[in-house]
């Protein structure tokens, strides 16, 4: 990121906290058989914390501790897997009003995303304690990377790192719900349409809602504009949070910009397909499906200090000036954190 306008900041706080806070992650056993291993989850991070180490040793240690559980672990896992299979085959599971299938998400879909998260993008998560342990909160993040990979990684980051095991409910564009297969998976992952009705309903239920107000403007921006936040919609997310009285947690994602460097946009093709843009990257579409493989960049996801919204009077949600001010405040905070993280970053890839 040589050409990005980098503003140096006093960065001791975030750097210090990053070293102190190794990644807390659920045990592998818990991943597959969600019912048991309550104590296992609590105990396991301790040895990791005692030895300050990077990401890779964490997984090695986990495997070792898995093995130390003995053969009982394997048996239990098989039994759990069969019980899971039985429930799935007979349709004996629950989904919520939005179609969120918690069991499938926890035990299958998250396991599919986790290799990408752990091994490919090597996501480092900071400031997860800024997400409240209970009650509704709106996480507002920057959006980039041509394909909405950053949303999915943010979902895994919250799911695997938050001590209360919270689930992030993302708000997605309507295009997601028009595409076959994609809409089915998105609903099962707990995503819903980015509209104020759905967001308000989720926040009322005390859910953690993730939104990327830049939308396609951020996702499909050219590579030259990387890490420059686009307009934050019309600030609808602020009024929704104000009405619900839930805090806004700004979130900055570094690394997603470079996974598909978009050097061009085939507008005619995009119009023909009904997509908002059609990316041309150094590899796509020239190399065919191979070009669709994202670059293995190193990611950092930083959750910032929550901005409370419960101190405002009820009519504040109707005040456009306050809306714009709050929107700008959130936007500035995300942009500053982005610059800060970029200064700290050693390289795009590691």
């Amino acid at each position: 990121m040589a050409d990005a306008k980098v503003i140096p900041f006093d960065d001791d706080r975030s750097r210090g906290s990053a070293a102190q806070r190794p990644q807390r992650r659920r045990s592998a056993g818990n991943r597959r058989a969600g019912t048991e291993s309550g104590p296992v989850r609590e105990v396991q991070p301790l040895p990791t914390r005692a030895v300050p180490q990077d990401d890779v040793p964490v997984t090695a240690e986990q495997e070792a501790s898995d093995r130390s559980q003995g053969d009982g672990g394997l048996e239990r896992r098989i039994a759990g897997g069969l019980a899971f299979l039985r429930r799935r085959l007979t349709g004996d599971y629950e989904v919520d009003d939005f179609g969120y299938d918690e069991e499938l998400t926890d035990q299958v879909l998250m396991s599919l995303l986790r290799p990408l998260y752990d091994k490919y993008f090597r996501v480092e998560v900071k400031g997860v304690e800024n997400i409240p342990s209970e009650g509704g909160a709106l996480i507002v993040a920057n959006h980039s990377g041509t394909l909405p990979m950053d949303g999915l990684m943010m979902q895994v980051a919250v799911h695997d790192n938050h001590p209360a095991g919270r689930h992030l409910r993302l708000l997605a564009a309507d295009l997601v719900f028009m595409l076959p297969v994609v809409n089915e998976l998105a609903r099962k992952l707990g995503h819903t349409l980015a509209c104020s009705e759905d967001a308000a309903r989720l926040l009322e239920q005390g859910e953690l809602v993730g939104v990327m107000p830049e939308g396609f403007k951020g996702l499909g921006k050219p590579f030259a504009d990387r890490y420059k936040l686009q307009r934050f919609g019309r600030g609808g997310f602020v009024s929704t949070a104000l009405r619900a009285g839930t805090p806004i947690v700004p979130c900055s994602i570094v690394g997603a910009e470079e996974i598909y460097p978009m050097i061009g946009n085939a507008k005619t093709v995009a119009r023909l397909l009904g997509f908002p843009y059609f990316p041309l990257t150094p590899t796509f579409p020239w190399l065919g499906p191979l070009g669709a493989i994202p670059l293995p960049t190193k990611w950092t996801i930083q959750f910032g200090e929550p901005i409370p919204t419960d101190g405002y009077p009820p009519e504040a949600a109707e005040d456009p000036m306050l809306m714009f001010n709050l929107t700008d405040q959130v936007r500035e905070q995300i942009q500053h954190t982005l610059y800060k993280l970029l200064v700290q970053r050693r390289s795009v890839f590691f």
């Binding site: 019980a83 309507d174 819903t192």
Partner: protein, 349 residues
Amino acid sequence: MLVTGVARPLGGRFVRRIQRDPDVDRVVAVDAVPPEHHLGGADFVQADIRQPGIARVLAETGADTIVHLDVTGTPLGSGNRASLKETNVIGTMQLLGACQKSPSVRRLVVKSSTNVYGSAPRDPAVFTETTPPKSLPSGGFAKDTVEVEGYVRGFARRRPDVAVAVLRFANILGPTADTPLASYFSLPVLPTVFGYDPRLQFVHEDDVIEVLRLASHEPRRGTLNSGTFNIAGDGVLLLSQCSRRLGRPTMPLLLPAVTWAGSLVRTLGMTDFSPEQIRLLTHGRVVATGQMRETLGFQPKYTTAETFADFARSQGPGLLPPEALAGAVDRIAALPLAGGGQTPTQSAD
């Protein structure tokens, strides 16, 4: 009390049930064809609500409560779609015209459907009574209900002294319900739209009768039974869950193929697999029932899942009964390879 659409099982059940209520003196049951089931002690009047004769019936009986159930999606017997639309729309217009002339009418209950919301990918996940639909239904029963509700709103404006309740029912299921969705679920193999798993909501026919009763009497203390209410059981089932619980395999088809097959089946006249039905089975529809609970004061006895279980019991076993699948998994679990161990699989459920 005057009840329309009694030749259908639901109307018949309602008429039989409502006579047992102490504050109902007399029930006049109206339909164009004589019902095959008995109506208890109700007086049956054979009248077509599409004809102005309904005004005479209303004037002669002096009914104070009108329960309009003749808004339906499936034709009775040999009727076709055109006559069904006439009954739904023209019938409602005639009935409302008659009500407007009749000074005795105090209360009107109209059976509508959550079809009025349509279903589109741009819609919010959960509809409330005030959500405007993003795309109005283009035809079929859904369009009928939109038009019927429009006329009912007009009537409510012109006769503010009449308490009007519009009940938007989710898909009605039950052992005897004859709704399009019930006939869909009785197919041996369920055709589905590839890549879509719609969320569905059901309401049990027993709950339908109960809520119609609630709406046709004086409101209970602290509740209000005029207005528009969504009526649905709690919770949501995905179509894939429904097919697994029913034990019927699905056959995913591409959306254009489903649309084409639907129109083919329709022209052959086999079943009413209408476009709005396909839209429902593509995008699904879920409604909020807060108004039903808080304002109307109605608690459905059956959740969506219980309604479906009751419906599934009334259907014959499918090609892949869930019990057989569960048994097969249990047998695998009992194999020595899987260990069984101290935590047998059976205990997990």
